[in-house]
Structure formats: C-alpha cells, structure tokens
Symmetry: C2
Subunit: 207 residues, 2 copies
DNA sequence: TGATAATTCTATTGCACTATAGAAAAATAG
DNA sequence: CTATTTTTCTATAGTGCAATAGAATTATCA
C-alpha cells in the first residue's frame, strides 16, 4: 500500500505525462504568440478545450509551465550541437553544421524555441540560471569550434571567438522573427548563412 | 479668445511637451526592462514620483505611450542610415558605417531601441504597420548598398542581398541582449562585425 | 458491480490593473 | 489680490486574472 502510493507520487502514470505534455505544447504555442505576460491561463485552457482551473491539476503555476517550455526549448538547441562538436570533421564543416542544426528547431519546434528565446527572461531566478547555463554551453561549443579552426589554420587568427559566436548566434536566432514572412526554405538559409560566415561579402576575385 | 484657445489646444506649451517626454522616457525604461505586458502604469508613475492617474493627463492610454516609445526607437535607427546610404563612398565602407550607426543607438538610446525591437509586436494594427514601414525602410537601405556593391564588383555576385540584410540586422540587433554583460566597447564590436561581414571567418592565406 | 483512485468540473476568493470623475493644489495672468 | 487655467491629486468603478476548495465525473480494477 505504501509502496503503491509512493510509486504513484514519484513516477506519474503514462497518461499524466502525456497530458502534461499536451498542456506544455499548448502553453508553448500561446507563449510564443502572445508572450508570457500577455497570455492568461485561460488562453492555454481554451486551446485544449478544458477549463482554466483544471490546468492546476498538472501544474502548480503558470510559471512552472514556462519553466518546462523554456527547458525543452533550450535542450532543442544544445543536443545536436554537442554531437557535432565532437565529430572530428574540419572546423569549417562543423561550423556550418552547427548553423544548420541551430536553424532547424526554429522551424519544427518553433513554439518552444521562440518562447525560450523571448520569454526566458521572465523566469524566476533559479530556473533562469538553469536555462542560462544551457545557453552558455551552446556558446561554448561555438567558441570551441572557432578556436580549433584558428589553431589549425582554417580560420583567420585575428578572429575574436567570443564576438564571432555572439554574431553568429544573433544572426541565427533572428531567423525565428522573419522566416515565416520570407519565402525561403530553411536549408537554403543555412547554406547562405554558412557561406556568409565563412567567406564574407567581399568579392575576392577583384583586383 | 478663440485664437488663444485654439493655440493652446493645437500646440501644447513647452512644459507639456517636456513633461510628456519625461513620461515617455520613463515608459521606455520600464518597457525595456519588464516588457509592455509586464509593466503597469503604476511602474511608470513610480519612476517619476507621481500618481498613476496623473499620467492620463498626458496620455490616453498605456498603448499610446508604447506607440511613442516605439516610433522614437525606430527613428533612431533609420535617420543616420538614410544619411549614409547617399554619401557616395564605396559600398564596403558604407556597409561598415551602416553597421556602426546601427549599433550606436543600442547603447545611448538603449531603452527606446530595446522597446522597439522587443515590444512593437504588441502595438495595435495601425501603429504596428507604421513602425513596420520604418523597419522596411531600414532593410531597403541595407539591400540597396549590398546591390550597389555587387554591381560594381566590391561584393560577390552570388550574394543574396535580402538574406544578407537579414543576417546582418539580426547580428546587430542581438547586441542589445548581451553587450551589457560583455565588457567590450561598442566601436570595437562594430569593427569586428564589419570585418566578419566583409571577410568572413575563413583564413584565405592558407594553401 | 461496487469501491477506489484519477481527472475534470463549478464556484469563488482576492488581488492587481487600466481608466475615469471630479476635487484640490499650483501656476499664471489681469 | 483675484480669477482663470494648468497640473496633480484622491477615490473608485469595472475588469481580468492566478490560484484554491471542493463537488462531480470518469476510469480502473477487484
């Protein structure tokens, strides 16, 4: 009896997990659309056809839902990047892969990534620091690839790894703000951005 | 008498304009800090040491204050750019000047530019379209300089002017999110970003 | 089926917020 | 000094919101 109860409390049933995830999905959608402060828990419930108060069976607070959305959003960026950084390819190639991998979730996980990018600043201290650490992990990956490229001569040795990282991430993150308006496929964006980052705009054929 | 009254209504006294501007300044500050939906009119009043209701002597609504902040924020970006685009210098030089001019207000008008960049999406239709037009004017300036650079051979002819513009603006706008943390002067950022945009990361001295 | 647990519901509390009304106070002008 | 205008104030209406309490419903399982 005690065991049964404990198990129920500690590891929620499959159905609870599933429903919880549906709610997080809905939250991500409205948070991305109207911002955290601009959405009411009623908005989330409406999207699911359930009552506002019923949400509190799954979440302690609106803030908790934001934490979950942001954590998933951040994870979507970091996971693939950690794979790429270790794959042993040339730094140029890895950098392009990092750019492509960073753009991808801006599309197929748009609600999560947009919420992570724009709304994480409203998280309470503790969880804000947590997603902050994930951000820094991602930045460190970019910096590491750039440093390795400089060391082995693929990249210019006067490159500032930190600023280059921030420039590239800013360039990529902004995609989420305009790519719905601009009719251009994501892989083409990745291609063009990779080329711009590696070669710049200047025409080197000129005399 | 009628003349006197009309004058009072149509062109507010110097003091009214001045006080109005103080309120807009305060609004910009809290909007930038806590977001539009995250700030109350009480927050704005607190910053000025006045009563919340007194704000309504100068503004019809919180929304009106946001409109004014965003309009000023947008103007700060466009004005200098329109000067630069016509100055007849080589496209490479003009592009670097555009980048530097775009970074500048992110510092000395930080509250206005951050509010413009992050909060304009909450504006009502009409004024959102108005600041949208200003954004497009700025983008058009970047695109024009890039096209001119391609035509005269300064830039690679396979450059995509639209995507390059969006890449560069994204890169620059992101500065507002991190430059307070990173201890690096703005002119150095402009220098590094200009160099990256023109020359890319690749080491062209390598064999 | 009937008992127990899981899930969703109705109803409500209490608070924070925008905006308005009109009085009070301060500034300005005759 | 008095009258008038400008500015700020107090007080409050009205709304929307997050969160809680506890009843009703639905699912699970012996």
């Amino acid at each position: 009896m005690t065991r049964q109860l404990k198990q129920t409390e500690k590891s929620p049933q499959r159905n609870v997990r599933k429903r919880r995830r549906e709610i997080v999905d809905a939250a991500a959608r409205v948070f991305a659309e109207r911002g955290y402060h601009g959405t009411s828990t009623q908005d989330i419930a409406d999207l699911l056809g359930m009552r506002q108060a019923s949400l509190y069976y799954y979440f302690d607070s609106k803030e908790t839902a934001l934490e979950e959305v942001c954590a998933l959003g951040a994870a979507g960026f970091v996971e693939k990047a950690e794979e790429i950084v270790r794959n042993g390819l040339p730094a140029q190639k890895r950098l392009c892969q990092l750019l492509a991998a960073h753009i991808a979730p801006l599309d197929h996980r748009a609600d999560y990534t947009r919420t992570f990018l724009n709304e994480r600043k409203w998280l309470p201290m503790e969880s804000r620091r947590k997603v902050g650490r994930m951000s820094r992990r991602l930045e460190a990956i970019f910096e590491r690839v750039i440093r390795e490229g400089i060391r082995n001569g693929e990249f210019r040795n006067d490159l500032n790894p930190r600023m280059t990282t921030l420039a590239l991430l800013g360039m990529m993150n902004a995609v989420s703000t305009w790519y719905e308006r601009e009719s251009i496929p994501l892989d083409r964006i990745a291609e063009l951005f990779g080329d711009l980052a590696l070669n710049g705009a200047r025409n080197t054929d000129a005399d």
